[in-house]
Every structure is written in structure tokens, then in C-alpha cells.
Symmetry: C2
Subunit: 400 residues, 2 copies
């Protein structure tokens, strides 16, 4: 199955066309979602080379797993944007599209003559979204950025890891994906505005900015209460107990927020006498005294196995969880029930994390596999009106 | 300044009305964004108590910093949804609204008679979004969930922290905020579909599902290549060098992805002889041999200060960064230039992380401060046509 047949896709964004000039992760994750939600996404790649992630190991059937995961639901067109003929074809696609997404370094699109100012006359209704490390302006605008740079510069690493230990990178690429999600929100908002006013927009989203937005609580605390937030292991900075604890075998995560939950927790633990302890009367007091509270809980948790505690805490309606590995998580009955693993295409054995948005009234289409480099070049050029001989000539001239 | 005057807000979502039945973080972060993008957000709170986070310390001028950060750009209406009169007022607001967002436990809204099935007849165009820990179906649908439970159950903690150490919680509440962002994308997609078809939708987003979607790379690797992903400290699982290194004083983060960047890095480090080393010829080889590569880089990094390396690596166009604290990050020249700290209201001294979406052609309104409990009750009831005496009677009856 190629994506060609699914070009008119179901889903809430059916009928929206996206020109996708993204590579690596921050951009492709955004256009993966737009495609999953029903948009027709045309991924434009450099002839012969394509997205750099196509060569990142490990591979499955010769295709990069990294690339396959975030380039589902797209069609691939190779196009040389340094050639005038390539730019001309590009502008024809832009003229019939709703959205353009790119995550080149700031200034690159302008140098190609394909910046927002260049393309707005081609399509005044275009929503043009630029995702970059640091944004389209400011002293770092021309600097390169990858995930761990955004995590490091923003302070995200400084609040992740063991107290007093090395700052840890968030294990998922939140430096990239944070910007993907905010850019997608910007794009969809701009489409909403366009539906009301008929006007397009330019959207500028920076990986660094998005990390700060994710850290809103740490930032608000620092700016308005003064403490510099730091890494706390598994512990929440404001709520206690809200962390992992060892048990007789494997650790569990336990969260108590309201006083009602606190009562249920101490009931389940046989520690009802703590209810009268003035140090633990409210959530804020429990957090202020967490260093005195933890030594009272730890020996009790150590007295039973994790699974005994999970059963007991579930019965007491206290939020709790095992600390799962990725392998554990994917066989969890709830994860299985929710269909969070999807095989694309069906019966291929290739499995990925699914779209985490369930919609009634606008169900999503089945996901389509990531394209081979240039897989849809002929089909897309034919849609634009090129005859087979024209396409062959473009290919000979290395334009496509 | 109250929000009342800014009820018709600028921004791409101007004219969109949101009924906000959210509390804690996963829901409020989504409606914070919708409000920042221009929607009129009516936050409905329980009379006398309100959102539980109003009592979470620390406080500024008697208001919870936690609450203030994620409840900007909203109006607060107190309403007792267990009283028939409260439900009636609620349905009148729903009839004039575009979106409803709630993050109660699955089943709660149905028990109140305010589920999607109940409200669709009141407003067939309504986009009704439910954010929950585990989703609206499946064996865990009725379980409570907080951030660290979603991080623990999904495997996110298992891939964050030091190799062989304790699983670490991501220092920002990505368990909550991940779901906020996907729900916002679902809502905006549903509005796009409604503009095309006139039909509303029901959206079901689970915190657990969203963690898995953020972990797409770890999941795709495990399912298609077999290795169970684990915590790697600051290191990327597939790319090397892409991590932090000690220097003569403070650590830096350095990322090298393409061979061009690798050439520039070894040039800046005086290690050009590594270019011919067969273990390091490609990104995948460098990653496969990272344990042999690191000992070659570490002594060189140790020979100069962090700031010397940052200057040298910037000159070589190699992505790099200090490992900033939150305090460092907020005085970084790029962060300052981008306006990522916003004072709300102006000249109040109260400062927060700003919206990380810059839009040309649809600029955002200035942000409005989080409301006091019930601050806009009278104004909203007056908009619904209630006279002052009616409002007083509702207040006496503890309906509002």
C-alpha cells in the first residue's frame, strides 16, 4: 500500500493540505500529527539524500525506525529547491496548500527565496509555521539546536535527576517534541482564525521557548517565591507524598494530594495516628515536612511487596503505579485496551506508538506508513499537471 | 484589572467561547492556552472551595502561585453543579459555547447528567473534550491519576535518570502537560472539522496515552529492534556525541549529528585524527562506539573552561549549551529577547512563563491574570440575563 490512495484521508483535518519542509524530529512530529488528523501532507525532501534521519540506525527492512515512527501519514516528493525549476514547482504546490511547516535554521528559507514574505503573494491564505531552536529573532537565531541543547539551556535538565546528582536529559526528546506540539497548536489556531477572517499567518515557535512553557510551575515559583528549583529524583516540588517508594521487592509511585486521599493512604498503611500530627495536617504542611514524613512511610512500604501495595492502594482509591519499563508499559492491560500500539501498515509487523487523541464524531483514518524517499514524486507531479515525459525530464535534470 | 473587560480578547481564537470544568493541571493548562490564543474561557468552580490548587503553597499576595500560573486568561464563575438550578445555568452557558473541557475522573460528568450525551442535544455543535488519567474506557478508567503515576506507568521514568540509578521523574509535570497539549490539538482539530461540516465532536485524551506518544522513539525501537530502552543520564540513545561533558569548571551539552558537524567538532577540539578512525565514520558508528569515543573526548573537554568551549563550539557551529539552572535560563539573552517571561498584570511584579507561540497576522492579546474565586460570577450571570436580585437569590441559595 502506498500513501497515494489515502491522499484524501478521513479525520477532522480532511481537506487540509500541508507542505512539509521538515527534517529530524521537531518538524516531522508536528506534520505526523497533522497527517494522522486527516491532512494531506506532502513531505519535500532533497533528491538522493532526503531527511537526515533516514540513515539513523537501527533499521527495519532497510528503513530507519527513527524515520518511520514520525513520518507516517505523509507522501514524499523529492525536489531540488536550489534550482529555479524546483522553486517553481514548489510555488505551485504552495498555491494549492493551506499550511507550510519548516524547521530549518532561521534565515534559510529567506535565502532560498521561500520565506513567508516570498510566499504570501503566492498564497495570501497560507499558514506558514517555522519551528527553530531559538526562534526567528534574537542573538541566537542563527545557532544550531538539538534536543539536549534545548533541555540544557532552558533549565529542564537542572530540575531532572537525583538531588545533588548530574542533571539528566528527559529520556524522551521533549526538547524537540515540545515545540512540535506548540507549533501544531499555533497552526490549528491560525486555521481557525483564517476560517473567520480569510487571512493567513506566520507562526514562529522555538524549542527553547517551549521548554520554558513546559516548566511554567518551576518558573513561576522561582520568579514569585524565590527558590531556584532543582532536581528532586522522583519527588514533586510542592506535594507530598508524591514520589516513588521502595517496597519489599520493586518500587511503586504513590501520589497524595487532597486531605481525603491522605486519610485513605494512612488508612491503607495502618498509620492513622499521623492524621493528628500537626506537621501533616495539609498538603502544604506535608510537603514542608516531607523529610520527616518519608522515614515514617518507608519502613511500612518495605513490609509488603509492590503488587500487594498496588492492590491495597487501588482498593483505597489512592493514585499509585508500578515503575514500568517500556516493555512492561506496552503489555499493560489499559495500554492494550486503548490501542496505543498500532501496526502500520496492517500485518507488516511494524509497530509504533499511536495517536493519543480519540475522537467521536470525527474518527481518525488508519495511519499510513512512512514513505520511501520520493515514493510519491510521480503521483504528486501528475496531480500538478505534469505529463510523464515532463517528469522524466525533471528527473534527468536532477530537479526531482 | 479584572478579566471582564478583556472578555472579547484578541488572538486567533477570538470569538470562541470555552466552558472550563477543569482543575489541577492537565485541564487548566489546556484552557490557559486556549485563553491566551483569544478564547473567552469561563472557569466554573465549586462555590466556597474552587480549584483545589488554590490552596497549594507557595503563595503571592495570598494567591497560590501554582494556580495563578495556569489559570491566566480565564473568568471564574462559581456554580453548584449538584443543584438542579446550577445545572440549568450550566446548560445555558453550554448552549452559547463552542468548547467544553473537563478533567474529572471518567464517569463523573455522566453521573451529574452533564456528559456528552446529555449536552449534545443542548448544543449539537459543541466540541466536548474529556482529559483523564487513563481514558474514558478500559479497565483503569475509574482510577485516579496524577503526574508521577502517568510518568511511572508509561515507562517515562524508566528512561530518565542515571544509568543503573533510580528512575527519575521528569522535573516538569509532563505527565499532565503532555495531555493538555494533545487535548488542545484535538479541540482545535475538531473546530476545524466543525467549520467544514457544522458538527461537534467528543474528544477523549488520557495522560497515560500521551506519555506513550511522547516516547514514540523509545517505543518504536523496542517494538521493531528489540532493545528495552533505559535511562542514559544525559546521553541520546541513537546519536553520539549528544550529551553533557564536564569541562575544567562547569559542564556543557554538546550535540553532533551529521558528519559535517562531527568534522567541525573534532576540528574545534584538535582531534582531527579521529576522522579516519573506522569506529567513528558515521553517526550510527559513533553511537555504537560511544563508550570508546567518550574517553577520547573527556580529557580534551577537561582542558578548558565551559565558557571557552562554548565560544569555540559556537565559532565552529556545533550545537552546544551550558547546563542552566532555572535562574540562569531566565536571564539568558535569548530568553530575554524572546519575551518568555511575562508580568501579569503589568507592573504587578507577578511574573510567569509566556505563551511560546509567536504569531504574525494574528497577534495574541496581553495575558490577563488568574481570577479570584467567583470574581466574574455576577458579570457572567448578567450576560446570561439574570437581574441583580436573581443573582442575589442564587447566592443565598448557594447555587453560585
Amino acid at each position: 500500500m502506498t500513501n497515494t490512495e489515502t491522499q484524501r484521508r478521513d479525520g477532522p483535518l480532511a481537506g487540509v493540505r500541508v507542505v512539509d519542509l521538515t527534517h529530524m524530529l521537531a518538524g516531522p512530529y508536528s506534520t505526523w500529527l497533522l497527517g494522522a488528523l486527516g491532512a494531506d501532507v506532502i513531505k519535500i525532501e532533497r533528491p538522493g539524500r532526503g531527511d537526515f534521519t533516514r540513515v539513523i540506525a537501527p533499521f527495519s527492512d532497510d528503513e530507519s525506525i527513527y524515520f518511520m515512527s514520525v513520518n507516517r501519514n505523509k507522501r514524499s516528493l523529492t525536489l531540488n529547491l536550489k534550482e529555479e525549476k524546483g522553486k517553481e514547482i514548489f510555488r505551485r504546490i504552495v498555491a494549492t496548500s493551506d499550511v507550510l511547516v519548516e524547521n530549518n535554521r532561521a534565515g534559510t528559507m529567506d535565502r532560498l527565496g521561500l520565506g513567508y514574505g516570498d510566499l504570501k503573494p503566492v498564497n495570501p491564505k497560507l499558514v506558514y509555521a517555522s519551528i527553530s531552536g531559538f526562534g526567528q529573532d534574537g542573538p541566537y537565531r542563527h545557532r544550531p539546536c538539538f534536543d539536549v541543547v534545548a533541555q540544557a539551556m532552558s533549565g529542564m535538565m537542572s530540575i531532572t535527576g537525583e538531588p545533588g546528582g548530574q542533571p539528566a536529559r528527559v529520556g524522551a526528546s521533549i526538547g524537540d517534541i515540545g515545540s512540535s506540539l506548540f507549533a501544531t497548536i499555533g497552526i490549528l489556531s491560525a486555521l481557525q482564525k483564517r476560517a473567520a477572517t480569510g487571512e493567513g499567518s506566520f507562526i514562529d515557535v522555538a524549542m527553547l521557548d517551549c521548554q520554558l512553557a513546559l516548566m511554567e510551575n518551576a518558573i513561576a515559583r522561582y520568579l514569585n517565591a524565590g527558590d531556584v528549583p532543582r532536581a528532586l529524583g522522583s519527588r514533586h516540588p510542592l506535594i507530598a507524598p508524591f514520589q516513588s517508594f521502595p517496597t519489599a521487592d520493586k518500587p511503586i509511585a504513590v501520589c497524595v494530594d487532597t486531605n481525603e486521599q491522605w486519610e485513605r493512604l494512612v488508612g491503607a498503611m495502618g498509620l492513622q495516628h499521623l492524621l493528628a500530627d500537626p506537621r501533616f495536617l495539609t498538603g502544604s504542611l506535608r510537603n514542608a515536612h516531607h523529610a520527616e514524613l518519608e522515614p515514617l512511610l518507608i519502613p511500612v512500604f518495605a513490609g509488603r511487596s509492590r503488587d500487594e501495595w498496588l492492590e491495597r492502594l487501588e482498593a483505597a482509591d489512592v493514585p499509585s503505579s508500578p515503575i514500568n519499563s517500556v516493555a512492561d508499559a506496552l503489555v499493560d492491560p489499559q495500554v492494550v485496551h486503548r490501542g496505543m500500539v498500532v501496526e502500520v501498515p496492517p500485518n507488516s509487523g511494524k509497530r509504533f506508538a499511536a495517536v493519543p487523541i480519540h475522537m467521536q464524531g470525527a474518527p481518525l483514518a488508519a495511519e499510513a506508513p512512512a514513505p520511501r524517499l520520493g515514493e510519491h514524486t510521480d503521483a504528486i507531479l501528475a496531480e500538478l499537471g505534469f505529463a510523464a515525459a515532463d517528469i522524466e525530464a525533471l528527473r534527468s535534470a536532477a530537479v526531482v
